[in-house]
Amino acid sequence: MGEEKKNKVIVPSTIKNKEKRAEVHANLKHQKKLEKRKRAKARDAAEKQALELGEELPPRKIPRTIENTREVDETVCKPDDEELFAGNDADEFSSIIKRDILPKILITTCRFNSTIGPAFISELLSVIPNAHYYKRGTNDLKKIVEYANAKDFTSLMVVHTSRRKLDGLLIIGLPEGPTAHFKISNVVLRKEIKNHGNPTGHQPELVLTNFTTRLGLRVGRLIQSLFPQDPNFRGRRVVTFHNQRDFIFFRHHRYIFESKENKKEADSKKKSKGTKGEKVPQQKVIARLQECGPRFTMKLISLQHGTFDSKGGEYEWVHKPEMDTSRRRFFL
């Protein structure tokens, strides 16, 4: 009794004797663990009881994550905003997204590239239909923009490497911008992925998730304008840009719908193999995914109005250190 009382009152860190402190601390931890287990048990029991009685299950608590405790942001798009739709209709990508123009992409490297740049680009070429790789040479980026404009390209991508590592990706919408600069990290090429698949030449489906704010929507539309808007569902290829906490995760998959027999059925079938029962085995359709790389993560550094102009450019959004006041503040 006395000890318990002490435990409740005394904070272990105030005890000076190390042995005693460790003991008290361990005791406290153990108590906490027991309590937690007790709670879990009670919850499970209640659930089980509800199931047996046919009642509604008690609501599960939703764990608090950084995403769902995100700071309130007034720039999050609302579905009934006519100004938003009018703005979308008028922006630079609308002609591609409305399928008036087919996207045509020029991909190039930075000036002093290493082997990783072209290797990555060769995989990008298999991901993005109608993309063309041009060697950078010693051309200025502004000259390349002019050239691409003259050749009716709709976007320009520049893959930047430093110290034989990929570190930047520039996506420029043509002819009027905007220019998005992403930091690239965690690149895994196709070769390094275990059991990877090889993509077919079909036009991929595009999945963009969690682009919620105005800025996010604009970046999402910029990415969307890289891909043709009429996916070939027969190809069963899907390209995903998933935004989570301002990091955009890129994945490329093939999927397949397989009809599988239910496990129990299959077991019973095995047992009754000899008798050959007439009952039709219950089938269940499952989707299987096969990744066919590359795999990388992007983070937006800046979004510039107009095409690339590092000196005279006007920024729509730049990341500044003073904006990082909270872990729960996201911009996309």
Binding site: E83, L84, A86, H305, K311, Y315, E322, M323, S326, R328
Partner: protein, 430 residues
């Protein structure tokens, strides 16, 4: 609980601002009531249409019959009533309906506040300048009734520059001189009455490495309302320059601000502070006499600042730009008072300084006698500090350096008188 930081915005004093955006909308933002009110969008004029994107706007800020001119992307210039958004008149340069070519877009516009009073039809004078440097000054007459017959007589047109693109146009406080500058166009000053060029700047010398930066002016502002001789100009090579046309053709002072081009400049009423906004969203105030940075306005502003407006009486500035926020700042403490999200890229913001009086008339229309009285007393209270500021400002302008006290007092008295008269008038109106 998760720790979340909230920006403590103290709120704005009562004010009214108009913003213009790329979808051609005009939004009215008002902060009502006593100190510490959060401003809100109260009205929206126009339908979202990208071809009507606002390029330039100018407001005649006066108590009776204020006017607002808006230049749109499709070549239309509209004159509106800034109180209720009613269209007075719309004029167009080209007779055919096709949109004008890109180099004929209007970059600068100024609506003159002095006017010839006529009985039947009202007139206003408008200066506009296109990218190619075609400046025109026209006076537009329109009847006060809703009929849209208008007489536009083009007064003067002239060419500001032979080559290059004009990007900034500014008219000084006494409205006799105008300033033009741009990409490949040195700033030059024109006398508007005679339409003659009176002064052109000279490009600064090559630097010690022998490198010459090409001229590209992005913004300009006159330092004080009475003096057309001193003005500040911002360049694309992140430089702010002070010119004095009575002294020399090269800049008197020039200093750098950060790494991105200067996009907007605004002057303070005291004539020696300027506010500088650049393309990566930094806003700072400088003492123009010595080019020293007084301080930056910090507030998580992340998009290019297209326009800065100084409230004529309150110590408040508003900035807006590509991050689609309009932000109100306190000048003295350089603190963010509040920010309003307006969904589109903004191109301009102006203050309507006669907001409180309007409020009074509005409530009077509602014919709630007691409330009007109360509001009037409130407004009178609020007039008092304002008047002082006005007079001190006038003194500062009149005496060039620092107004002596006698003129100050006189002006105050005259102000008071005039104010009383106007109030009587208002009551009659009511």
């Amino acid at each position: 609980m998760p720790r979340t930081t909230t920006l403590d915005c103290p709120g704005c004093p009562p004010l009214r601002a108009l913003t213009f955006d790329v979808l051609g909308l005009v939004k009215v933002i008002e902060a009502r009531g006593k100190e510490g009110e959060i401003p809100k969008v109260v009205e929206r004029w126009g339908e979202p249409d990208f071809s009507k994107s606002v390029l330039a706007a100018s407001l005649v800020d006066r108590k009776f019959d204020p006017l607002l001119a808006v230049a749109r992307k499709n070549g239309l210039i509209e004159v509106l009533n800034p109180l209720n958004g009613n269209l007075h008149i719309a004029i167009s340069d080209n007779t055919d309906t096709s949109p004008p070519p890109k180099d004929e877009a209007i970059v600068g516009m100024h609506l003159f506040s002095k006017e010839e009073l006529e009985v039947e039809s009202r007139r206003c004078t408008l200066l506009s300048c296109t990218t190619k440097g075609n400046a025109s000054m026209r006076s537009i007459g329109f009847s006060s009734s809703l009929s849209k017959d208008a007489s536009t007589d083009l007064v003067k047109t002239w060419k500001v520059c032979g080559s290059g693109d004009v990007t900034c146009t500014k008219v000084d406080g006494s409205e006799t001189h105008a300033l033009f500058g741009g990409k490949g166009v040195e700033v030059n000053m024109w006398n508007l009455e005679q339409c003659t060029k009176i002064w052109t700047a000279k490009a600064p010398k090559k630097n010690n490495l022998g490198i010459f930066t090409p001229t590209w002016f992005t913004s300009a502002t006159f330092l004080s309302k009475d003096d057309h001789r001193k003005f500040a100009a911002g360049t694309n090579s992140h430089q702010v320059r002070l010119y004095d046309i009575s002294a020399q053709k090269r800049p008197v002072i020039s200093f750098d601000f950060r790494e991105t081009p200067i996009k907007s400049l605004a002057e303070d009423v005291d004539g020696n502070t300027i506010f500088v906004g650049n393309a990566s969203g930094d806003l700072a105030s400088f003492d123009i006499r010595n080019g020293k940075l007084l301080g930056c306005f910090l507030g998580k502003c992340s998009g290019s600042i297209r326009s800065i407006a100084r409230h004529p009486e309150l110590p408040v500035i508003a900035s807006c730009g590509l991050d689609s926020y309009v932000r109100f700042w306190d000048i003295k403490t350089r603190q963010l008072l509040s920010a309003v999200f307006l969904k589109q890229h903004l191109t301009g913001v102006v203050f309507d300084s006669h907001f409180v009086e309007e409020d009074v008339t509005q409530t009077a229309v509602e014919s709630i006698q007691q409330e009007t009285e109360a509001a009037q007393t409130v407004s009178e209270e609020e007039h008092m500090p304002r008047k002082r500021k006005k007079s001190s400002k006038e003194g500062g302008e009149g005496g060039k350096r620092k107004g002596n006290k006698t003129t100050d007092k006189e002006s105050k008295k005259s102000r008071r008188k005039s104010h009383g008269e106007t109030e009587r008038k208002q009551k009659k109106m009511v």
